[in-house]
Amino acid sequence: MILRMEKFSKKWEKTLYRMKRNKVAYLLILPFFALFFVFTVLPVISAFFYGFTYYNVFQDPIWVGLENYVKLLLYDDIYGTALKNTFIFAIITAPTGYILSLLVAWFINELPRRVRSVCVLIFYAPSISGSAYVVWKLLFSSDSYGYVNAFLIRLGLIHSPIPWFSEVDYILPLLIAVQIWMSMGTGFLSFVAGLKCVDRTLIEAGAIDGVRNRWQELWYITLPSIKPQLVFGAVLSITGAFAVGEISTNLAGSPSVRYAGHFIANHMQDYGSIRYEMGYACAIATMLFLMTLVCNKVINIVLNRTIK
């Protein structure tokens, strides 16, 4: 017992010594982590607690227990729609964007340096062009001045213009297309950089050991070599897909026709900034937080098992 205590206090002393020795490090990280605590950690924790309250900003929050969650899961049909839309959206856009990023990065890897730079620019540009995706609204505008409508009419495929972003059947597919258009972002750059650094000798060794074609080379040599980048890219794709909301507001309006483009983030904004039901909005935020986190963890495990 005494021995154990001694061990413990020795360990403690060592920690204390390490803390003292690295005093300056704490000063260095202080500004960032102070802000990080205030604007990331604290909001997540407080969203969790506000989720159990009724809070309209003007009066103090009132504890209501699980009421928000019961309403959310059992009675809020619009939340059901938002949940369904978000899942359809995420299941399509996250893997598509991810695989396209990987394939394009792989395809352009062996092009000459300058050509590759131009390709990287073309594919990466949409993701950093900010609100430029609003051009999709012009391209798909509802009257016959819209390019797509004019084009289809000229081809004789349709006779009257289609109101794309106000037509229930087209809203979600169009938003998915826009998202895929913007999905080759930081993850794509990470793949490009990772592929550049794959060890040439491994590839040559593979060719000698019986790798027969490029697809085998990709599966047995290239992918395992860039596994850390693959994990990083997966995290970004999933998080990005679940964050969807703003493009829907800007392209399909808020709320969109019959909620066809309504996502969880839109639902949260709706209650948070329009109806001022902060407790309910925080319950939605907590759900979104948990969903994204669980999804990330699951995909992480799957990736780690499949790519050795």
Binding site: N22, I29, S46, Y50, L103, V104, G130, N213, T239
Partner: protein
Amino acid sequence: MNSLKKRTKRGKSKRVSRSLGGDIFVFTVLGMMGLFMALPLIYVISNAFKPYGELFLFPPRFLVRHPTLENFKQMGEALTGSWVPFSRYLFNTVFITVVGVVLQILIATCAAYGLSKFDFPGRNFLFGTVVYALMFPAIVTNVPTYLLFSRLHMIDTHWAVILPALQSSMGLYLMKQFMEQSLPDVLLEAARIDGAGELYIIFKIVLPLMKPAWMTLGILSIQALWNTTGGNFIYSENLKTLPVALNQIVQSGVARTGAGAAISLCMLIVPIGTFILSQNQVIETMSTSGMKE
């Protein structure tokens, strides 16, 4: 799979080569995707140079026929015109972007240096929380942050946009990963033996050597801040940003379409231009971005 017969090039490298079919496949896919990616942006560029008549041509034409700078002149008039203070929006966006980017680079550099080069208790835990923060969308924190700012009476100030942007977990993550691999410990030791203080080391050694990393961080935060609308944190007209003004123009209809097209192009130039200038550094930084168990 028609590339089954092994066609190893003799000479410089032993590697399976692509089949002809594979080559055609690759370039077709690349070309089609490239078009899909580039067309909307080409449209933005071409629109900005269209004369008034072509903007409302029916049937509409995708590319400009008789390019003109008329729209930019209109934009200039809108910028200086006294009845709608566009220069105000421009100033707001530039202010938010410049202050935000500079502060973010300084704060993230210090934190990344502390995390990667000092072995202090708690550093794995702290870095772990930053990695977790990458795994959920920042929009989750939107409502509580609003409540916090309103309690601090900071709603409707530029700081409500700048402060949260300073703690980008992605920025810190990329910077720390890069620093761990590319900043030699020996150099830091040598500087310390010569009596250099930590601030001196940061400004004279870390910042110059970590140029690729902070340029990358700069790109990411420029594109976020330059495009910020202020969300629901800013509602005074004289504090609003350029993207908000742009949206108003686009929605206000016919009279300002030309100026709107020109402003769209100008909005696009900043993030894309900065990326063109720093692409090599960005790729260099990204090579260390991987996540290990």
